[in-house]
Symmetry: C2
């Protein structure tokens, strides 16, 4: 098994790109990432995209993007795992380079969500839940997460506003990220007084649907050896699953798949959670950030929210999360977000994170599908 490095990254700003299509966003990020990596061609491209069929009438997205990126004849496949599609594409790229079959691989995450209005987007998103036992009853993802958050509040004697610190941290960090959708800080008061969406989830809780594309260039040791300044190594890649429906989990407040995915990644890297200096969780809702912190060993069960209340998730805290804004502040182009996370971790590990720079040699990114049925974990190591 060969070693795998990231040698180039690029991202489009996240937001509502009314004048740009999915292929356009994807291609612009590919061109920039290849320029940064100083590679003129690649052996394959793997695309993470969750909802192209539902939201834009376009499946077969990998061949389409390869075609419009001018990558004639290249191997191109799309990987889908709902909200974890971006991480899943990174996983596929990792496997192909680790196998020794490919030297240079492009991984692109892309999602175009603004072409359809709210209810249609919600309907598309819920295809990630169990259609026969959840979606059919009208359980949207906001509703599923509201159930989890309400139960968490009940179990651990908290209040709704205690979750505010996740969104406050995300917006604070996004305010220094030129590619983020929400570049303005918010306060605990604003979080608490925001309009309710599905009690206890308010308007400043969920990550916003958005358009965007991000690309990373993966390569083998042979190629990375020539780029010692920019190369960041992926030292672990792991995927684990859990029951897709909330009601099929023994303890809905413990993300068993996320735990297992992190456990496998730690084992592969030969480290523990204490060694991770920066963590990009899948904060589609603040309850998901809280449960992820617990599943990965950064907080014990029931202490994820308290970790945030204590300021330990900020840039100066014990385990900085969402350092460039996370899904909440940067925006959540669903199938692209797992690749955005890697782009941001590479910024951190190269020391290119500007005002948001943290001091760390090891970073972890987690891409989650549905309410936790799929978790893809990657651990990256700085070569500095």
């Amino acid at each position: 098994m060969g070693r795998v490095y990231v040698v180039g990254t690029a991202q489009t700003p996240v937001g509502e790109h009314w004048d740009r299509s999915a292929r356009d966003l994807a291609v612009s990020s590919i061109v920039k990432a290849m320029e940064e990596a100083e590679v003129g061609e690649a052996d394959a491209i793997y695309v993470g995209n969750a909802l192209g069929g539902e939201l834009t009438g376009q499946e077969h997205m990998a061949a389409l993007i390869a075609d419009f990126a001018g990558l004639d004849g290249i191997e191109a496949l799309r990987v889908e795992a709902a909200g974890a599609s971006g991480g899943a594409a990174v996983r596929m790229g990792y496997l192909s380079v680790a196998s020794g079959l490919k030297d240079i691989v492009i991984v692109t995450g892309v999602e175009k969500m603004s072409d359809l209005a709210g209810p249609a987007v919600e309907e598309a998103l819920v295809t990630a839940a169990d259609e026969e036992y959840e979606a059919v009853h009208g359980l949207s993802f906001v509703a599923l997460n509201a159930l989890l958050m309400r139960r968490y509040i009940y179990e651990h004697g908290l209040e709704r506003k205690d979750f505010a610190h996740f969104s406050v941290n995300a917006h604070q960090n996004a305010s220094h990220n030129d590619h983020a959708m929400f570049r303005r800080p918010i306060t605990v008061d604003q979080y608490e007084n925001a309009r309710l969406v599905a009690d206890p989830i308010g308007l400043l809780d969920p990550a916003p649907a958005a358009d965007g594309a991000a690309t990373i260039i993966l390569c083998s040791e042979k190629v990375a050896g020539g780029k010692p300044d920019s190369a960041v190594e992926i030292i672990a890649s792991a995927v684990a699953t859990d029951a897709i429906a909330l009601h099929d989990r023994q303890n809905p407040l413990f993300l068993q798949g996320t735990y297992e995915s992190a456990r496998r990644a730690y084992a592969e890297a030969g480290i523990g959670s204490d060694d991770i200096g920066v963590y990009e969780p899948h904060d589609a809702f603040s309850i998901m950030a809280a449960l992820s912190l617990e599943a990965c060993g950064f907080a014990s069960e029931g202490q994820g929210v308290r970790l945030a209340m204590d300021g330990e998730i900020t840039l100066e805290g014990r385990i900085p999360i969402c350092t460039m804004g996370g899904l909440k502040g940067r925006g959540y182009p669903v199938g692209a977000s797992g690749v955005y996370q890697i782009v941001e971790l590479v910024q951190q590990l190269r020391g290119d994170a500007g005002a948001n720079q943290v001091d760390s040699r090891l970073g972890m990114a987690q891409s989650i599908g549905g309410s936790g049925a799929t978790t893809v974990t990657h651990i990256l190591k700085s070569s500095r």
Copy 2:
């Protein structure tokens, strides 16, 4: 890079399974394949599915299937490349075993198409074409293939009925396949007199939309070593792409991506087209079978149909194709069909093909997405 073997296979009958869901079909094929392979667990499952979102409201299919198959916590991802989704999932399984990271991997292809009526299925299928430049103009896949077939007839001085031999061969072979949808032979006259769908394509030309699931168990040399009688080796795995829209190809009658995919596979296996003794093409339409034969070197340009007219594609011919019925006779559960092809090749290479047995040690399967934008090629070798 490690060697990769198929040690277990299973398939559900292809047809209209009104009383069974996609997960149900998938799980039954997984259970049977694991029994046949005599493995109690696996390291990962990769799922090929093209249209679960459009046709059943279910994305995130890999986690769902892993869950209902009782494969707790397993790595599970879905790969999509339109009609090539099944082949693409095999490709991902191949990469993960070849990398040395996985010893036993499940690859399942599944599609449930009978829940929706005809026009909705046609609308779903066309998401594999270029949405902005083809689908938006009302070009369905029947229409795209009718354009190709009409041009081929014009260029090569043929008649519509000359294509009949593809469907006649497929139905003849399907008549001995218990898992096939159309187990009755047809005649050239029946083909010629069948109702026109989109001139020159008639009702007996396209492969039928259908429900079905097929599973193969892939493993490393270490595991396969204990199963010398049943193991069939995958000696080549290759993917190549072409322009997604017909109008962007220099010569629409030459499948450049299919040519390139086959060329890479031949090179990897260290063989030429003459060494292949059985070939499962992506005969979604007879014109695709003809163009595939030419792109892979079994016939020169313009001679693919003549090869069929000369009887060279039958079980006794020079290059037997669709030996268990192909997409046309066995039925075409879109994202599952690439896995069905491998199951059938393994039957041939193990000598388990009954009345349809051909004498060959090397077989090739090709899974195509759209009108040729993605082609996945696998070459399998008998250990007998």
